[in-house]
Symmetry: C2
Subunit: 243 residues, 2 copies
């Protein structure tokens, strides 16, 4: 409790707001429930704001809560046997994270805010209570688990193989998706990029520099960029078809 709440409380204000008119409700876990049910469900749920770098939860902690991402990007990281950090996937708006809390298990990995993030903290008990009456919730939970699984597998397939250029392009493409329709995306510090893509941060910097020279990216301080989606798609396509 302390481990989770302590960093969160100082992080930002808890916004009292009804789940029923949540802007991400349709994309979120409770999107499958009726309005009345959501109203009851909302009791016990709290909205939390996190700054970049702050943890949503710690690996191994038996937390009792799962979270819906309302805004921002969250990364999942673990420490390898070799002792270095490795990022295994990302979650964005509408994503459900920390589901394993429902199983009385410790969290499988560390969840950390990449950007400024807003999450809804949903105590395990709330879900358990609802699930008895609402069979659709079970199905929705399974669906969420499956999409987490697919996200993890896709990360392996697309972001861990090929040249450094290909991997960086893939990452940027994914970040552009997470950013929604806007062309302004969050671009990680080079060191984080290295941890995500398993390359030296200097290499990440070189590739980004190259993309900038090709007008695919225009980087801003401290961690943003504007992407030319057409050029990006084109570069990715070229990269994928030669080799």
């Amino acid at each position: 409790m302390k481990v989770i709440d302590a960093p969160l409380r100082q992080a930002g204000a808890v916004i009292a707001q009804s789940c029923a008119d949540c802007p991400v409700r349709s994309e979120a876990l409770f999107g499958v429930l009726g309005s009345g049910t959501v109203e009851r469900a909302g009791e016990g749920v709290e909205s939390v704001r996190l700054l970049p770098g702050q943890r949503v939860y710690a690996q191994g902690f038996i937390g009792g809560s799962l979270f819906t991402v309302r805004e921002g990007i969250v990364r999942f990281e673990r420490v390898t046997e070799a002792g270095d950090r490795r990022i295994v996937r990302l979650a964005g708006r509408g994503g459900l994270i920390g589901q394993e809390a429902l199983l009385h298990q410790g969290y499988a990995d560390e969840a950390v805010a990449c950007t400024e993030v807003q999450v809804c903290r949903i105590p395990k008990a709330v879900v358990e209570r609802l699930a008895v009456r609402e069979p659709t919730l079970h199905r929705e939970l399974m669906r969420r688990w499956q999409s987490s699984l697919e996200a993890a597998e896709e990360w392996t397939a697309e972001l861990t193989s090929g040249t450094t250029r290909r991997r960086v392009l893939q990452l940027v493409a994914r970040l552009a998706e997470l950013a929604g329709p806007s062309d302004c995306i969050w671009l990680p510090p080079r060191h984080e990029m290295g941890v995500m893509l398993d390359m030296a941060f200097e290499t990440a910097s070189r590739v980004i520099g190259q993309l900038r020279r090709e007008r695919i990216l225009e980087t801003y301080f401290p961690a943003g960029a504007r992407v030319d989606r057409a050029l990006l798609a084109q570069a990715l396509h070229r990269e994928n078809n030669r080799m």
Copy 2:
């Protein structure tokens, strides 16, 4: 338990056997059910034998069945945007695969037998029917989903980073776990190793050759090896602490 499957039929003999006295029952999905329930559950389930290289199911296929692995090793592979195969995780004895069938979705990736494999084909309807009466089954399904997720993330963390030597050692260690207590393990053809670890097959061959010279492995034809677990653990430990 019944006896047939169209695409799988040619693969091998179907063994008529009761689910209640299945040797892997305690590790399998229905391990959480009582004996009487298992007996009823078994109707509609069929056991299938597959040879190395044969598919359990195809990516995208809307199958209507999930599977429990009774024996052998199954790999999950997908085709990347760049057009090459990539293996994203393995499943062994007791593992549940193809769960996404429960969600009316196509299978997320291709499941292929690595070794000779025995699986139990469980029609979606069987699980759905049981789940109504048996709330523990829901929990067990979620638990399975979570372990698939963790297997995928661990694959990313441990098998896609570091030197080729470290990756091969990690793979061998995992194969040794899947092999159970025996020191004789399945060792993939070098080309498969390359697809698993994202390296050229010649490189895989070189590393295996090195391990053989270090007496960590003794390879057999066509796809087996005897491992010295002590030396393997030692080599891994050394590898993980320098760098």
